[in-house]
Symmetry: D3
Subunit: 274 residues, 6 copies
């Protein structure tokens, strides 16, 4: 099993089958530790022959509703995963992102089973595929169920790269024309929102390696550069250059050039507070 | 069908039956597009003979719980809608508010079916009616169910005008003595909160046409004037004059006089950031 | 029945049996007022012989899921309450905290039945006991269910004193190595978060009597002193001395020495805004 | 309240509003006796303004399923009850039939709340109305739900008079072209079945006042006369004259002329067994 | 573990703790064989410290309904089991009855988990206790739930001895004043029914060791002697002497004196058919 | 589409794809006739690409339970159908059996959607496959769920041919060593039961083309020949020769040689009753 650490993600050396193998080992141990949940681990992980199969089942279960039941959902999701292999590759990269960046997450299994940010993001990846297939009605239904279940509201047209972590997740809002690059870390209550009523492009574009702190709002079609840190609680209404930190309501640049990706270090401090 | 745009709302030219007719046309088209959800559209919209009937059913369904089941809820809600026609007039104005102000909402059907802000607000309108009838126990039960289901916490005594949009909605908190005027737009995670432990009036009064940005907090019995813009993430502890913009933690006035209602333009930018 | 007010808490004169007696009187009156909910009050309060029994039942009911059903949960929770009497003592102190500090809460019954902040906190107290018993898998399951159901995310290792109020609660996040002292009031959307990826101590320590306003973030292993007020929406990255107020993004000290515990007064204003 | 006894039914002196009043008195007493079920009695009886309203709610609740939820069912059922007042008149006569003929039933409330024979029969009355309206698909759906829920299988085209008791009910089967007269008592596991594969009339016609004992089968388009007794476990393949008793596999006439309606006396003995 | 066979029951050598121990061993093996059901075996058997605890949980689970939820049921049932230890002794004797007499049942666990005849009988034992406590409303509710869930209708006033097997169970009906002795075997669709409308004693009394074949009806206050065999499908309207066999519609005595208890041999043949 | 009639079955000319095509046409028409159920028809039939897929989904839905949820059941069932194609061939022959023999069934869709005899039989076919694979624990769980849900109790070891109709179905019992030939029609409440406690073969063997009437019991390891008619309510304890009719409790031969298969004609009359 690969060591806990950021390097593999950065170097794109993800080996998805290894992640899945690790999850199975962890699930078997957990089932043994806590017999009251043994079938839970069996049903969610151990009985599945592939991570695609497991994720289809998991998402179908969390989105189950009398309007669209788990077995119907499972088919839709499995079909998406089969036709677009990029979805499951992204999902496995997301699992690694949590494992690498969240000190409270010491198992690959943890985001998959327990983190609603993970469930919401993967549900979005399916909804996004449906949206691109022209099944906008069903995509909006997914968005609505995710918003109800997880308090996470991502428009199905929004685009996400790989290796995304959405920590804690409650209150996240991502608008229709948003684009989120690879290896971004978003904390709970972050908003990538629109500004104004016009149609067309009206949401942020977030560069790779960016970390956006809890409760920060980025509004309008602004460009946030690569490896930027946006401090928690900030309000960003303008473009942010690469490798910089911004903070405040409204946000201003603080401190100097950042070395390394804030998404990986998860350092919330500000170099230069006067 | 009336054109998408703000004028009709401003001029109070809402024609509720037209909204309901439009929703039925949209639902029929959606049922045809996505057969997997055909009964969903039928049950929520097409089988109903009036919008009051449909909304009673929709709210009963989302608030359903073993402590108070859907059929009992439906009766309570239908009774409120019948005795106070203002509730459904407000509801139809709210649907128009979303349609007019949210670029991602291009159908009247969308808020009715998918937006938990809409469900929470209409549930509140029922709870408010119950509260005024002296059924405070049941009103508090409604508040609690809405808080659990939607992560939106509105005290049943709070007063709302017509044409309210609560976009995304997660984390909204509105306290007991709050008053929200007509045609206000509230983003997610907005707080209209109290200050101190005294009894009596202790929550904000929000003028008509105001827009309060995501995550902004207005605390205490302050008066926010008409057509005010409160920037996302701000903390407002003092009165705000009409036609002004405030921003910051704590908030200060920025920029000049606002022309037009921020609730309609939904413009999140700040004229004068230095 | 003890008078509504703060003194008893401060003086540690809580008499738990009195609280439970009061809740029973209130529940009987509510059942009589609102027959549609009579069994609800009977099942949740009146049929129970002790508050421990009632809380075990209440939490089992709200955490019920096909993966771990209510009757199995009830046993786990009842066992924790029996083995560690401190849990129910804290629970009763928490009920008093709400009753004393929230003007909209004029019954002891209200937080017990209706406030998800109360349900989330008590579920955490059980999860914390499980964590300390080495049942980390089950503890993480509890955390996940609470996060899904209540949009409140508290790591099971986090430590809480007695007399805690979490008002409205949506979006609260409390990290693994956080410590919250006695008689603290936390508003919704507060974050006690980590900073950086290192293991070990990385979350805040909150002194007794502190009030943290809505949406405030305290990040990293900082020390927040006793009877501190953190203004809503603030971002705290450094230690805060006893009896002071901080505000802003990032937060700075404002005003003078605070007399009395902000957690009790719940005063959200800032003395010295210039 | 009318005295317990058969005369009123025979003389068609049912006073439906009296039955409903009696049920309300009984429900109030039961709610008081057993607080754990207080809301149950409130929701099923006390909160309703008419027996039609109560029965629509009760049937909707027992037939609730994700394919057709309670609130949609309620509308269909309420509509049937409104358009054909004979249905509720028959229902109230059925309640009297149980009350008069079943010694273990000493309340009007009992069949309404507890007897699946009553629920199945009233569901059939709705399905029969749907069938006659040409809504055969929905009528068959009702039949299927009733068969699953109650183990009672009545084809929606079968015709029933008033004042029918179906005691215990499990295993009852009534075929498409069956006709059951007024004031008939059917025990559990009775079959009114077809014979052969031909189309057209192929099921029994049962005269008024008949009692058919547990497990008896009447097969083919035979005519069973008025006030006939069919012994439990019998197999009837031929017409049965008025006022006679038949028994055996296959059944033969036993004993002499019957005085009075076996459906009322419920006497299971055979006069002349040699 | 005691050997499979009838002797122990006849000799009253049941050792309840041995039965419970055996069930735990069987459940552990089953959980290991079929991981998909591991938590099922854990939750139903392995996590419980006593058979009383397990049965209370099992019955609460099968009778769960929004009108009276599992956790409330569990308390009622646990209370009955605690106050009347005879109930659990009878339950364990019933488990042994199935194990000894049903060749398809080779584990003690099987009736406990899988046989609805066992669930219905134990639910009745609780309802009977409630009836005797004067809680007739709740007792009738139990009867109704059992009838709906299991298609088994036993009046709560009916009396049952120990060591009862109700094989397959569908359609069983047992009336109010019935008495069933120790070590009786009842097949599915058996009726112990009343005759006539009079009040007072009107149902059968069944002696110990009796076997009543599938679909047989015993009607009226007749006495069925000890170690009697009633052939399947028979209709019994008169007393039956000890150690005899009856068959037919209506039933007549066939064959000679029976040696041994038909309830144990389960022999369905008739010695003397001419 | 093939004409309604028996010939194709007798000649083994079933064309399964034609049956499935017919079901789809019928479902599309039903969805159009009854919009309230449109998604029901879509989810159960129209969205599936094969009858195997549809049946797996249908059975998973009816057997859904918190102990083993629909999505896990679907996988088990789909796997059985894939590994043993005989199961789906038998299922399609069973659908034809209902269509051909039941005058009230004029669509192929009807048994598939509405008849619990069909659901119980197909669930048994899966349980039987599991039993043969050595997964006896899971097979017994299936038996138990079917018994609870449908009041049909078939031991997983029992063997069934193709083209089986189980009309109405409530109360059917089929024991462990039973064998049922091709093209058999069983009415409700039929028992194929054991006799005695010995191990080994102890249940009936039913020849092809046999019809067993409602409530008839066949007990012990008797041989029932080909194209036999067993009258409703009969008790059969001895072998029955080919092409004969038996009736009575206990049963005796009545009438002469039967021409044609009683299972097809469904004629319930007895040629020679004197």
């Amino acid at each position: 099993m690969r060591p806990k650490g950021e390097e593999l993600i950065i170097d794109s050396q993800i080996e998805p089958r290894d992640v899945w193998s690790a999850m199975r080992v962890e699930a078997a141990a957990a089932a043994s530790d806590e017999p009251i949940l043994a079938s839970y681990f069996h049903n969610t992980v151990l009985r599945h022959k592939s991570p695609e199969h497991a994720i289809a089942d998991q998402l179908a279960s969390v989105l189950d509703h009398s309007a669209l039941t788990a077995t119907a959902l499972q088919e839709v999701i499995a079909s998406a995963l089969q036709r677009d292999p990029e979805i499951s590759r992204s999902m496995l990269a997301d699992i690694c992102a949590w494992y690498d960046r969240d000190p409270a997450c010491d198992q690959y299994l943890t985001p998959f089973l327990y983190f609603k940010g993970f469930h919401a993001l993967q549900s979005h990846r399916i909804a996004h595929w449906l949206w691109n297939q022209g099944r906008t009605t069903l995509a909006l239904y997914f968005q609505s169920r995710v918003s109800e279940q997880f308090s996470v509201d991502i428009h199905p047209a929004a685009k996400f790269g790989r290796g995304i972590m959405i920590d804690h997740a409650t209150g996240l809002v991502v608008g229709e024309t948003s684009v989120v690059g690879d290896n971004v870390s978003l904390l709970h209550s972050v908003t990538l929102g629109g500004s104004g009523r016009g149609s067309g492009d009206r949401h942020p574009k977030i560069g790779r390696g960016v970390m956006i702190g809890a409760g920060a709002k980025v509004l309008g079609p602004v460009r946030v550069g690569e490896e930027v840190k946006i401090a928690a609680g900030s309000l960003v209404l303008h473009d942010v250059p690469d490798h910089t930190t911004v903070a405040g309501v409204p946000a201003r640049q603080v401190g100097g050039r950042i070395e390394g990706a804030p998404a990986f270090t998860m350092d919330q401090t500000l170099d230069s507070e006067e």
